[in-house]
Symmetry: C2
Subunit: 189 residues, 2 copies
Amino acid sequence: MGRAGLTADRLAQAGAELADELGFEQVTVAELARRFKVKPASLYSHVQSSADLKARVALVVLAELADRASEAVAGRSREAALAALGNSYRDYAHEHPGRFAAMQLRLDSETAARSAGPRHTRLMLAILREYELSDADQTHAVRLLGSTFQGYVSLELSGSFSHSEPSSNESWDHIIHGLHILLENWQVR
Amino acid sequence: MGRAGLTADRLAQAGAELADELGFEQVTVAELARRFKVKPASLYSHVQSSADLKARVALVVLAELADRASEAVAGRSREAALAALGNSYRDYAHEHPGRFAAMQLRLDSETAARSAGPRHTRLMLAILREYELSDADQTHAVRLLGSTFQGYVSLELSGSFSHSEPSSNESWDHIIHGLHILLENWQVR
DNA sequence: GTCAATTGCCTGCTACCATTAGGTTTTGAC
DNA sequence: GTCAAAACCTAATGGTAGCAGGCAATTGAC
């Protein structure tokens, strides 16, 4: 019988696609095994557990998004960079809601450290350097940006903004601009 | 045989407590049945499905939080009101992480409309009225505040802020103040 | 107080998922 | 070709969701 050619990476990759198709909750050992026309038990040579599988999907997604974000930000500065970063985050979530859900998974701290999370942070810091904040304020600002982006997109995807005017796109643009203004005046406070 | 006195409300209430004890993912028909010393099938006279049960827990939590928030905000204005609102949200999440997780559940739009969500919105609007924004800007601002609060708390609870200086409390205060400044200057842009 | 209707909960069943242990086949290195 | 490692399978356990149908306790009408 031919082999499916399973590896941890291919499983994580397929898990990410499965997440976008059926939702992240449906990323299950059994479903993934079906996709590879293989028995569930076979996956356990490559992946420790269902939790491990989901964590690997999250890592794939984080890395993917970090790639897109650095591309988007390259060559831009200040508000343009901020908008590019925010948009890359938001666009990715809209294109890949399942992957975005995977990103929300709580990783234990060592896994988180080995993830692309720190890359996201460094990218934000690079943008913030142009706003001339103190070191402490840079950290505050990273946390503000991260919170707002992640919160906005997750509320938007859950439909919170879809039943009222004006459009979510409009709010998003205003918010990005508002954050820019806030960063410009941060130290003056 | 004595009856357990099951009702949908008591199940939702118990589900909320269960969420804080074991995590929202552990809020399961089977576990809840164990708590009431009853067979799982018995719950289905009061609750349609496992998903229905979880949605009811989310509704309980949203209402609970709306109560706390309006109490906290009462009698305060502008930055003090903003801080009170944000803190009530954040404190609640810290005290009740399981309940907070329940709140993230995606409700279908009719359920969301019957939830306490609109009350949260009205409360924010009441605070924003003091900042003299246009109607459209009020909506943008509600979305900004909601996003930032929800994003900050959820990143904080997932541990994202616990491995770097300065402390998360400090960032939180700076961010609240920053949002206040931003609102004050919103129209001047 | 008696009886019928309703409600509350149970038994029993089906089906799916996660996981482990141990066996068999395939593949590649030599 | 041999052989060891890797890839995959069979089989079995135990947990969760959910449905159908039944008996018994409670309630309300009289």
